[in-house]
């Protein structure tokens, strides 16, 4: 169960090697989290991630999960919930893709969309149902500022996050009053393996900062969290910039 500050005792990370996901898990383990499930594509990296959290004193298990294989989600995730209540699900999987390459290769663009959007729709609905049956829990969805307004440089990724973000907001409304809390997290540029090699964008942040913002959001039962917080104002301004001007902005 979550405590008065929204801190979960059990956590399921979808995208078990995500740097943001693991930073969040570490932060929550330092508070109350004892049981962690890392769901992801089986790999040595996934096992290493599990071992790392175990060293912090958590009881950690891994479960095979592929966002691109939605047919299996109900069964794979159902098993996790059958083992006991999950107080928080962190939907952390996602791929950035390679915009230039993906524009040339529609099928690889589709994989970005299928991972970030349809994969999340499927996993999100499966988890939402299980949480609803429990009557409690938080579903924390890692969206992105990239979904707030599509930009020339990464609109394939951006559009998938826009879809995910809209989906997660709607799901939050659908679950309002059911005891299940949906929180949409919109980080800006986060230095992680996803962005390795890319130049820092303005207001660049770290997985640890996202984790801190998530902890605060849980305590406040927030529905939307921007990381860093200043992005809320920046994006609300950018949203209203006229198209011709927006195209010319160096964002």
């Amino acid at each position: 169960m979550k405590d008065a500050f929204g801190i979960p005792q059990s956590l399921l990370v979808l995208g078990g090697t995500s740097e943001i996901g693991l930073a969040t898990a570490r932060r929550l383990i330092a508070r109350r989290t004892r049981t962690v499930w890392l769901a992801g594509r089986p790999s040595p990296a996934l096992e290493t991630a599990a071992a790392g959290l175990r060293a912090l004193g958590a009881d950690v298990r891994t479960v095979a999960f592929d966002a691109l294989d939605p047919v299996t989600h109900e069964e794979k995730l159902g098993k996790v919930f059958a083992e006991g209540d999950i107080d928080m699900v962190l939907l952390a999987f996602g791929v950035l893709g390679d915009q230039a390459h993906d524009e040339e290769q529609p099928l690889s663009a589709v994989r970005v969309a299928q991972t970030n959007y349809t994969g999340a729709v499927s996993a999100g609905l499966v988890c939402a149902k299980a949480l609803q049956n429990q009557g409690h829990g938080s579903l924390v969805v890692l969206s992105s500022v990239a979904g707030e307004r599509a930009r020339r440089v990464n609109f394939i990724y951006g559009s998938s996050k826009a879809g995910l973000d809209a989906f997660a907001q709607g799901l939050g409304d659908a679950l309002h009053g059911t005891g299940v809390h949906v929180m949409v997290v919109r980080p800006g540029f986060v230095r992680s393996k996803m962005t390795a090699g890319l130049p820092d964008a303005p207001l660049a942040t770290t997985p640890e900062a996202v984790a801190t913002a998530i902890e605060t959001g849980l305590r406040r039962r927030s529905e939307t969290v921007w990381v860093p917080g200043a992005l809320r104002a920046v994006m609300s301004a950018l949203r209203h910039v006229p198209r011709p001007l927006f195209r010319r902005l160096p964002v």
């Binding site: 405590d3 008065a4 500050f5 109350r32 005891g179």
Partner: protein, 455 residues
């Protein structure tokens, strides 16, 4: 048919950690209660828990995804023995109602908490204490026997002094549903209190005064300003009293010495700007309040309600803490552990927790309930807004002090304890778990509290 609502969001008085019960059932008879319990035991159902008036601060009377039995529908006072002072009543009867009915007959509840709006079931389930604990012990000490609906759907009459009774007193609803109880009452001549008030300049002064003269009063409590720092740390106002005898009343009051008409103010607003709950404004409030109190005054006549339940005058006062709700932290450390108490008060005061008047009191002998909270020693209770950054870790730090001093925190107030500390705080926890495993092997009685702390 009992009133039955699907999907209801439930919280405790502190309004933290809301969860949704799949069903909220309000039984009106023993039979309806038994049917509801059998439904809770159905495969796939997530068990059930009794709920009284929801005055427990944390998650004790909620059950995510399962059933919550609202016991306020079982609200009959069955018999009153006005000669010997014994009442038999349903568990959903509130102490407020008992006062309304019993005071005119010259009887008072044996123990009352800081609010009258608790049920008899909740009073036993949390084995509550009042300002008279040092004289009278906890509520359950005045319970002769109770009717308990257990997981098998049977109703058992459980007399005091048995294991099942001692597991149920303070057992947070986890042994079963209390349906009714036989309670011994306290005779009173009037519905007035004769109150002595005095100020204590700091914590040591306060402890000295309480230790020296508490035994002279039936009721004793100190309101302590936890925001005062330095030499003023722990400054307090002691209020101690007795039921006033009829010859203490003035001519007017004497015409109706047992009248019970508590006043009620308008409800608290649903929203108070967060700034008003900050360190500075709360500190100012506490300081004014301290200065307003008389340095020393004896024999002042106060209405029962003003003395025992000042907050009940403001309906829904818990809303002032806003959406994030608030946490109440109450612990006890034994006599001889005054140093630990000083350290804890020092930490709270240095940290500047924006806590409105906190309460310090001395407990008398421990009570037989296995999970009953009181042990002989000092108990301190404070409210803090849950949104205060870092509060979780700060309270964890206080827990460490409390455990190291052999103390414990109060489950009826808890919403955040680290589960692994529980066994050290409650040495009879193993017995409690063993009894539950035998009585309710499938864990039909379950609450968010029991899940969170693995009770």
């Amino acid at each position: 048919m009992p009133v039955d609502t699907a999907s209801v969001e439930v919280t405790g008085w502190g309004r933290t950690a809301p969860t949704t019960a799949a069903r909220l059932v309000r039984p009106r008879s023993y039979e309806e209660a038994a049917d509801a319990v059998l439904d809770c035991a159905a495969p796939g159902a997530r068990g059930g828990i009794a709920r009284g008036l929801g005055r427990a601060y944390g998650d004790a009377a909620q059950n995510a995804g399962g059933c919550v039995l609202d016991m306020t529908g079982l609200d009959r006072i069955r018999t009153i023995d006005a000669r010997d002072g014994v009442v038999v009543c349903d568990a959903g009867v509130s102490l407020h109602r008992l006062m309304e009915v019993l005071l005119p007959l010259g009887w008072f509840v044996p123990v009352t908490p800081g609010t009258r709006y608790v049920t008899v079931g909740g009073a036993i389930g949390a084995d509550i204490h009042g300002k008279n604990h040092h004289v009278s012990g906890s509520f359950s000490r005045h319970v002769v026997s109770l009717d308990l609906l257990t997981a098998d759907g049977e109703v058992r009459t459980v007399p005091a002094g048995t294991d099942l009774f001692d597991a149920t007193a303070g057992g947070m609803g986890l042994t079963g549903v209390i349906l009714s109880a036989t309670v011994r009452l306290l005779p009173v001549e009037t519905s007035w209190m004769s109150v002595d008030t005095e100020r204590a300049a700091d914590l040591d002064d306060l402890m000295d005064r309480l230790a020296a003269t508490d035994h002279r009063y039936r009721y004793s409590v100190a309101w302590i300003d936890l925001l005062a720092r330095g030499p003023a740390m722990g400054r307090s106002v002691l209020t101690r009293g007795e039921h006033a005898p009829s010859d203490a009343l003035g001519a007017r009051a004497r015409r109706e010495p047992l009248a019970f008409r508590p006043g009620r103010l308008p409800a608290a607003p649903g929203f108070v700007p967060e700034g008003l709950l900050g360190r500075a404004s709360v500190g100012l409030f506490n300081a004014l309040w301290y200065r307003r109190a008389p340095r020393a005054r004896t024999g002042e006549l106060q209405k029962l309600s003003a003395f025992f339940h000042p907050l009940d005058g403001v309906p829904h006062w818990n809303r002032v803490y806003g959406r994030g709700g608030f946490v109440q932290y109450q612990f006890v450390v034994g006599y001889g552990q005054e140093e630990a108490l000083r350290r804890i008060v020092g930490r709270i005061s240095r940290r500047g927790c924006p806590s409105f008047l906190a309460v310090l009191k001395r407990f008398g002998d421990g009570d037989p309930g296995w999970l009953s909270f009181p042990v002989p020693g000092w108990t301190l209770a404070l409210d803090v807004p849950a949104g205060l950054p870092g509060l979780g870790a700060f309270l964890d730090g206080l827990d460490e002090e409390v455990v190291a001093a052999g103390g414990r925190v109060y489950l009826a107030k808890d919403s955040r304890l680290r589960p692994d500390l529980l066994a050290a705080m409650y040495p009879r926890l193993a017995d409690f778990r063993a009894l539950r495993a035998e009585l309710d092997p499938r864990g039909v009685f379950t609450s968010d509290l029991s899940r969170r702390l693995s009770l």
